[in-house]
Amino acid sequence: MAKVELVNVSKSYGDVEVLHDINLALEEGEFVVFVGPSGCGKSTLLRMIAGLEDITGGELLIGGEPMNDVLPAKRGISMVFQSYALYPHMTVFENMAFGLEQAKLSKPEIRERVNKAATMLQIEPLLDRKPKQLSGGQRQRVAIGRAITRDPRVFLFDEPLSNLDAALRVDTRLEIASLHERLTGTTMIYVTHDQVEAMTLADRIVVLNGGVIEQVGTPMDLYENPASQFVAGFIGSPKMNLLTGPVAENEGAATYGIRPEHIRFSRDEGLWIGRVVLTERLGSDTFVHVKTEGVGMVNVRIEGRADIEQGETVHLTPDARSVHLFYADGTPLSRKFMQ
C-alpha cells in the first residue's frame, strides 16, 4: 500500500561502484520485476530496499518517507528468500509467528494472523511440522506465508523459484500471480534472471545491466520497443537474431535485429537464401537454424511441425516492420517503416 521511490541511488563496495545513479518510482500495488544477467546489481538493489545493504548514495522513499536510516523490520517490508531461509528448528507456526512476536503482538492476534495467512495459502495442515518435513514447494509456501503474516506494504521476492524443479516453478509462478491479485494494494518487487518469469508476472519490468537501468516498461513494451541492443537480446525467447555485417550496414546500422518469430520461411522464394544447419523440434514450434548467405546464422520459428532436413536450401523473408536496428554503442535507430 505504498509507493517506492529510488532517487539517484548508488552503491559501492570500497572503490567499486556496483549500482550507478538509479532513479525509479514504483506505484502502489504494482508488480515490478527486476531482471538482468547475474552480477547486474538486481539483487543488491532489492537488498538495499529491504535494508540489508547500506545505501551508499541517494535516497530511498517508501510511502513518501525516507527509509535510508530505518531498520529493515520497521520499513513495512517482507522478503521471500531464494533458499526460503526458514528457521530449521521452529515449526511452521513458529516460523510464521516469529516476526510478529518480535513486533510484540498479543498471542491471540498472532494466532489469528498466522491462521489467516495459512488459510490463504492452504498450509493449515502443515502448521505443526518442521521445515525438514516439508517438500520444496511446501517450504516455498511457508516462506511466502511468513512474509504475509507481517502484513507488509511492500513484498520483496529474491529469485524465489530458482530452487524449485521445472514443473513446480510454473505452479508457484501462477500462485504468486494470484497472490498479487488477492493482496490488492501491496507493492511487489521480484528479482529474477529468468526473462520468462519477468514477462509473465510483471506489470512493469526493470532491466538492469552492469549496474545501470537499461529500460523500464511493460513486458510488451520491452518486447516491441527495446531501448537498447541489450534489452532486445535479453527479452524474448528464443533470443532475437542480432546480425552484423552487410545486412546491417545497408540499413546504416551496426546491428540488425530480427526475432525468430518475425521471419517468414519458404522453400521457394524469399529475400535471403541459406542452408539449414540444425532443426530443433519442440512439438508446438520448430526452430530452424539457417546459415544465410551474406547475413549469417539466423534462427527461424515455424509454427507446429515442419519436416525440414539438415542441408536443405531454404528462403527467408524478415518482416520489415519488426526489424530493430542499433548503433555500435547499442542505442537504437528509429524503427524502419514504423509509423
Binding site: A50, G51, L52, L71, P72, A73, K74, I77, S78, M79, F81, Q82, S83, Y84, A85, L86, Y87, P88, H89, F98, G99, Q102, A103, R146, R150
Partner: protein
C-alpha cells in the same frame, strides 16, 4: 583383482600393533589396580586374582572422593562459562563486518598459543589479589586462558558456515542481535557446542600446572594433582596399586566420552587446528 594374502596379513598385523600399543598401557594400569600386596610386584600379563581393595582404599579413605568432585565442579563450570562467553563472541566475529575483526581473531588465536608458564607469575598475583588462592574459582578463572580462545575459534568457524539468509530473515523479522543469537543460532549450534564443550571439559579435567600452583591443600586439589602427589614414605613404598586405581577412576569417564562421542571429538579437534 584381489589383494594378495600376504599383503592383507601384513596390513592386519600393522593394525594389531597400532591397537595393542594404544590399549596396552591402560590395560596394564587396570591390571595393576586390581592387585595388592606381593601380587603387585610379580610381573604378569593376565589378571591373576582380581581384588578391588585399591579402589576401596581410594574411595573410602582420604579425600580422593572430594577431589573427584572438585574436578567435576571445575571442569563443568569452565565449560559453562567458556561456552556462554564464546557463543556471543563467535556470533560477532563470524557474522558482523566491523573494523578490527581480523586483528581480534588474531589476538584470540595467539592467546591460544600462549605458554601457560608465561602467565604463571602474573596470574599468581591476580589470583592472590582477588583472594582466590587455594579456591576452586582460581582454576575456573585461569582455565579460561586455554578454553576460551579454543571455543571462540571453533564456534566462529562453525557459525561462519551457517546460511546467511536465515539471519537476514531474522533481521527482516525485527530480531535484535541478542535475539538472533538466542532464538535462531543457539538452537542450531548444539552439535558444535557439544563438541567444543566436550573438548574444553577434557582439557580442564586434565590440567596440571595451574592446579598444582594455585591450590595448596589436599581437600581442594583436583585429581591430576592428587594422583601426581600420591606418595609413600619412601621411594620403595610408593602405593602403585592405589595410584593405578585412582588413575583408572579418573580416566574411565574420559574413555567413555571418547567412545560415545568419537566423531564429534574428532571433528572438533580438526576444526580447532586445521581451519587455520
Amino acid at each position: 583383482m584381489k589383494t594378495p594374502l600376504w599383503k592383507r596379513l601384513g596390513f592386519y598385523a600393522v593394525v594389531a600393533v597400532i591397537v595393542l600399543q594404544a590399549l596396552f598401557p591402560f590395560y596394564y594400569a587396570i591390571l595393576t589396580s586390581l592387585e595388592d600386596g606381593q601380587a603387585l610386584f610379580d610381573v604378569n600379563y593376565l589378571p591373576a586374582a582380581p581384588d578391588f581393595v585399591n579402589y576401596r582404599t581410594m574411595l573410602t579413605q582420604g579425600v580422593f572422593g572430594r577431589q573427584i568432585l572438585n574436578s567435576v565442579f571445575v571442569a563443568t563450570v569452565v565449560v559453562i562459562f567458556s561456552l556462554a562467553l564464546a557463543v556471543t563472541a563467535a556470533y560477532a566475529l563470524s557474522r558482523i563486518q566491523f573494523r578490527g575483526r581480523g586483528l581480534l581473531l588474531l589476538t584470540v588465536l595467539s592467546v591460544s598459543m600462549f605458554p601457560q608458564i608465561a602467565v604463571l607469575s602474573g596470574l599468581f598475583e591476580v589470583i592472590r589479589f582477588f583472594g582466590l588462592f587455594n579456591s576452586l574459582w582460581a582454576l575456573v578463572f585461569s582455565y579460561m586462558i586455554f578454553t576460551l580462545p579454543f571455543t571462540v575459534w571453533v564456534l566462529t568457524t562453525f557459525m561462519r558456515n551457517m546460511p546467511v539468509e536465515i539471519e537476514e530473515a531474522a533481521i527482516m523479522d525485527g530480531a535484535s542481535s541478542l535475539t538472533i543469537i538466542r532464538r535462531v543460532f543457539l538452537p542450531l549450534m548444539w552439535p558444535a557446542m557439544v563438541t567444543t564443550g566436550l573438548l574444553a571439559f577434557i582439557h580442564a579435567w586434565n590440567e596440571f600446572l595451574f592446579a598444582l600452583t594455585f591450590l595448596s591443600t589436599d581437600s581442594q586439589r583436583t585429581v591430576p594433582v592428587a594422583i601426581a602427589l600420591i606418595s609413600g614414605r619412601s621411594e620403595f613404598e610408593i602405593p602403585w596399586g592405589n595410584i593405578m586405581a585412582a588413575s583408572v577412576i579418573v580416566t574411565l569417564p574420559l574413555v567413555a566420552l571418547v567412545l560415545v562421542f568419537q566423531r564429534k571429538i574428532v571433528s572438533g579437534l580438526t576444526a580447532g587446528a586445521v581451519k587455520g
